[in-house]
Structures are given as C-alpha cells and as structure tokens.
Symmetry: C2
Subunit: 400 residues, 2 copies
Amino acid sequence: MSELIDRRRALLSPSYRLFYDRPVHPVRGEGAWLFEADGTRLLDAYNNVVPAGHCHPKVVAAMAAQSARLNTHTRYLHEGILDYSARLLAKFPAELARATFTCTGSEANDLAIRVARFVTGGTGIIVTENAYHGVSGLTAEISPSLGEAVALGAHVRAVPAPAPGVEFGAEVARACADLARHGIKPALLVVDTVFSSDGVFSDPAGVLAPAVAAIHAAGGLFLADEVQPGFGRLGETFWGFARHGVVPDLVSMGKPMGNGYPVAGLVARPEMMAEFGEKIRYFNTFGGNPVAMAAAMATLEAIEEEGLQDNARRVGGFLRAELGARAAVRQVRGAGLFLGVVLESGALASRVVNRMRGLGVLISSAGPKGDVLKIRPPLVLSEDQAGMLVAAFDKAVADG
Amino acid sequence: MSELIDRRRALLSPSYRLFYDRPVHPVRGEGAWLFEADGTRLLDAYNNVVPAGHCHPKVVAAMAAQSARLNTHTRYLHEGILDYSARLLAKFPAELARATFTCTGSEANDLAIRVARFVTGGTGIIVTENAYHGVSGLTAEISPSLGEAVALGAHVRAVPAPAPGVEFGAEVARACADLARHGIKPALLVVDTVFSSDGVFSDPAGVLAPAVAAIHAAGGLFLADEVQPGFGRLGETFWGFARHGVVPDLVSMGKPMGNGYPVAGLVARPEMMAEFGEKIRYFNTFGGNPVAMAAAMATLEAIEEEGLQDNARRVGGFLRAELGARAAVRQVRGAGLFLGVVLESGALASRVVNRMRGLGVLISSAGPKGDVLKIRPPLVLSEDQAGMLVAAFDKAVADG
C-alpha cells in the first residue's frame, strides 16, 4: 500500500487526496460491496455514483454493446439521446422540458451559471455557507466548502443552510438586497437540495419555497443542484426539489446518472434556453454521446425496475430509526439513503469514520464542523447490510 | 430524418447544432467508416475522438472488462491511474512530470487557468484571434471562435495566429505589454498547438519558441492545448508543441485520449502543482477512474502497437501531396492527419463540405473566413481511403 502511495506522489498532482487514515484499495465491486485483493469485504455506504450497485450487469452490458456498435457525438442524429431525454424529462414537472448533456456535474452547474447570467443580465449568485457545486473555475468560486484557498467570487453571497432557527427565505432575500446595495443584479440562487456539504438538511419539507420566491422577486433564477440528491436517493421523491414543492428554473444532475459512466446534464425551462441556445452553441464532445446515453438509460431502468427509490425509502427509514435511537447520536437528518448523523464533535466523527473503515464499513463526514456522518450508500443496500452498518457504528462508538 | 430533427427540437436545448445541410444519421462505426441504417457507407475524415478507429475492439474490451470488475474513484488506491500516468508521462519531456485527470478537454483547460492564476498571481490570458479552448465559463471567455455572443474576458487578449507575415513572438510580447498597460499581470499564454479553429497552422516549426519566451519574460506560463493535435495525429511528433522545440509549463489533452470514452487531463511541471495542490484539493468524481484509465491505456497501446503515428505521417503526406496538386487548392497546411486545405472562399468551402458529405466523405471547415477545409480522420485512415477522399474532393469541386 505504501508503494502505491509513493507512486501517487511521484506521478500525480498533490491536489489528489485519499480517504481514511488507512486508505482503501479495492480490486472488485458488486452491489454495495467492495473487495480488497486479500478478499476483505467492505460495505460501501458512501458511493453515490453507483445507485444500482457496483458493476451493475445491465449497465455494463448496455455500455459495452453501444461502445462496440457506435460512439459519435451530438452533431450527428442518434435516437439514444432522444429516447433518454424523453424518459428523463418525464421524471420532471412539465415546465422542465429541455435537456442538455455534459460529462460532469461541475460542467452542468457551470453551464447553468452561464445560462442564468445570459438570461437575467445579472451576475450575482447566492449559495449556502458550506456549499459545494463543482471544480471548474466558475463553480469553484461558488463553493465555500473548498476552503479559504479558493476565494469566493466577488459577486457571490453565502447564506446559512436551513438549519433549525434559520429563516432560509429571509436569508436569501437579505443576500439579494446586499447584492443590490453593491450594484450587483442577482442572477441565480443555487441550492444542493439536500444541502450535503452543509451537513445534510432536508426538513422541514417546503423550506425552499420562500427562498425561491425571494430570488424570483429579485429577478434571479433558481438552480436545483441534484448532483447528489437526485435519481431517487431521497426515497420519497425522485428529486430533492420535489420534496419542497417548488419547480426550479434549471436543474443540474450528475454523479449517479450513469452508474459510474461520466454523464451529467442540465434540464431547464424552454424559455431559459431559447435565446441562449439560438445565440450560443454548446458542443460538449462526449456529452450526450450514444454510449453515455445507453449507460444513463440502463441506469434509470435499473432504478425503476428494481424499485430502488422505494428501497431507499424503506432501508433509509430503518437506518434512520436505528441510528436515531443511539445515545451517541444527537440527531439524524436527511431522507431515504442520504443521511446526516450528527455526533458530539468533528473529532469524534472523524474517529468513528476511520474506525468503521477498519471494521469494513465505508462512510464519511460533512458539515462546517465535520461533526455530521454522511451516509450515502448505493440504493441497493439491503436491510441486512444496513444492520451491519449500525453494528459497526455501535462498535466504533464503544471503542471511544 | 425530419422526425429525429423534430424530436431534437422538442427535447433538447437549441444550443445543439447539426453538421451538414443533410445531417448524418449513423448506426454503426468501424475503423474510419460510419454506416447509416440503409447500409450507406460514410468515410469519416473528421472524427478526432477515435484515433484508433470507431469501436476499436481492444478499447471496447478493456472498458467493458474494467466496468464489470471495479469502477470507483481517485480517493481510493488503484493501479490503473498509476500505470497509465507512468505510460503517459513517458511520452513527455522529463520536466512534465505530474498528471491530473478530468473528463473533458474543457475541464483540463479550465483547471490550467486556475493553476496559472494561482501560481503567477496574475489574471491576464493571451489566446489567438479565432481560438477555441472549451465550453466552461472560464474557457468560453478565452474562446473567440464561439462568436460575439460569448464575450471575451476583460483580462483576455487575442493575437493573430502565426500565419505567414505574422511575427507571433512579437504579437505575444505586445499583448503582454497591453495587459501591463491596463494594470493586468499576465498569467497564461494558451495555444492550440496546431491552431485548429484559426485555420490550421503548423509551420514553420519553431514558431512558438519566441512566444513562449515572451510570456515567460512577462511572468506568465505557457499552456499547450493538445486536445486536438495530441496523441500522434501530427505524424512527425506525438504532441504539437514538440514540433516547435518548446517545453510547456502545462499541457492539456482530451478528445482522442480514450478513443471515445470521456477522459482528459492536465500534465504539468511539478513546481506548478506543488503549492496549488497542497492548498487546493481537486476531486473530479469520474476523472481518472479505473474505467477511464483502462480506456486510455488501451487507446495509447493501440496507437503504439498499430503504428498510428507513423500512419498519420505517411497517409497525411500522401493526402497533402495529392490535395496540394489540385488547382482549386490555394495551400495545404498542417501536419500528419491534421490538414487545413485553403480554398478560394468560405462559400466554396461550405459547398465542398456539403457535396463531399453527399458523396459519402465527412470533413468540415475552419478559420475566421471558413475557407479552410479541416481534414482530421481517425489515424487508421488507409492510403486507399485517402484516395477516396481525394476523388470525392475532385468531384465536389468539379460540380461547381
């Protein structure tokens, strides 16, 4: 293992980070399991890139078959992008009716910012205080969670996430007013609809509505960043925004979309894309190519055929009840299989994460203080596996 | 076909554009061939995403096998990214010794801009007058070829491409001085090393050296954008910058890297990444994942095992000689299988492109006046196929 770490240091940029004090070195994946070379089995309770489970046979087969047949781009006609778009758009309110495909969630959010600035003529962007929206230049400057070495943009304002006691709508209205005071017209409110990096906030349902009203009143648009919560993870709703009874102007999606294949996208109200699209071409070489669309279609079909949204609701509910009953747990937040488990301190959360890794269960932590365990397994997690997670948690906490 | 066009209009953003007056609707690809549903065979002389040819069996097999085994990310240890990085870096001068992986060329250029601004403390960027470097916010604002609806950044200066009579080094020095006059410290000179969208310029060899000296003298860095010319396409050299005897500070690459799989990257001098990497994490969810690395490794092996760089040199030389002897051709520029064929006007070039498509040969045009045919086939193009291209060109020109 130390040899691999040395090789990383010698070959890769130091921007790369490894998870856990004792890094993971998997050689095979299946369902919610990862396997190390010596046969050690790890329960993956953190990977939201494979909603249908690691190496899902249907997705692998679809991708391999399309790769062997044809893989060109969107400047030629192909049914794949149209069939998938129709299927994807059917998962949205009727107002959201135009798709654009990218390769990463960063690219989708980056494009959303370009569209919003074009449509509104404004430049101001409002995000939450510990938000993460991507690694491109535009998205990094609206991602306070990247730390102080990455400066927020001058036209960016950060508001507290909707923790208890925070009036989220009022905070957004205040940020709009602050932008106006600096002569900056608001363009966009961007919200990860489960507030992942802020520490996971999903309740109360409806909390987004006054914020959306506030940005609209100020002439800006609302982007729901569904890169993390989307595609059924929250159990009760397929998208995070749906939980709050709002209809966004723009919706970005990514990670889970292709069960590991690099595919992401932006869905928008047609009137948002009309003038932008007429005047500005957007060609993403790999975005929406036939293989990406085959992988995304197979992933969406697996989620639906295997009832994974309902599994997320059911197993998530079990996990929530079990963990919520633990003395060490101050609060369980989130929905479905996106849970934030609040512990006493960031130091304890860090110890628990590393101990659970030692016990063969992979999770991580989040929030500005790092005191929130972030649990986000593939949506195929069974109740048995959820029980193993709880047992590992108990042991990790008991070990002090 | 019109039904597919209607469906695109109903489902996709209008930002999407189709090639050719009569769009192409392929159902299968093999080598340099694309096939339509009725069996019509099209010679693809424009796709630089598949250097080893459409649906190369080795790349497809590598990708399928790795997808079925494991596909996680760079926060776990994996040999794939290390083995590929070692192999890739061996294709570079020793100074360029650290790799970072992204999914698209846009992301690689976007990251390079972030790195350059961090390292130099400057913000100014110099590009050529009709450059294209990507579709993210940061890269679009350094891409004049996107047209006037996409404003250049305030800190961006455009210089003429090194056409005959242009002293490229002096132009870059002048742009540095202009930035300084506006109180802007130069951060980066970005050059597509075959000046694709400027109309394809590869000669004289060495023309980049004074420009690199000029940006260095002004405290900025040099990014070689190899997204289009890289991976052997130019025949004599594996990278475009090598033709000019310069060693860049940063090199971005993309399109051909995974023979269709979304993989791209940034290679840099270690001293460029040191402080940036220590202070700023860069996690690209899909970037450098085991499947991306398997696809990239198989692609690089195919290019080497099948002698595709030499094929590009040889068949490119044949094409160049044949086309250069045609009365309708004013000049043939470029190298290997990246050729710019200058015709009398943009209108003629557009007619020739569309007529050749009707004759079953796919090419495009470039340059500020659109008068340069851009020929950029998979590197597997045979001399026979090159002959078909020339015959189609002759017929397209003869048809007026």
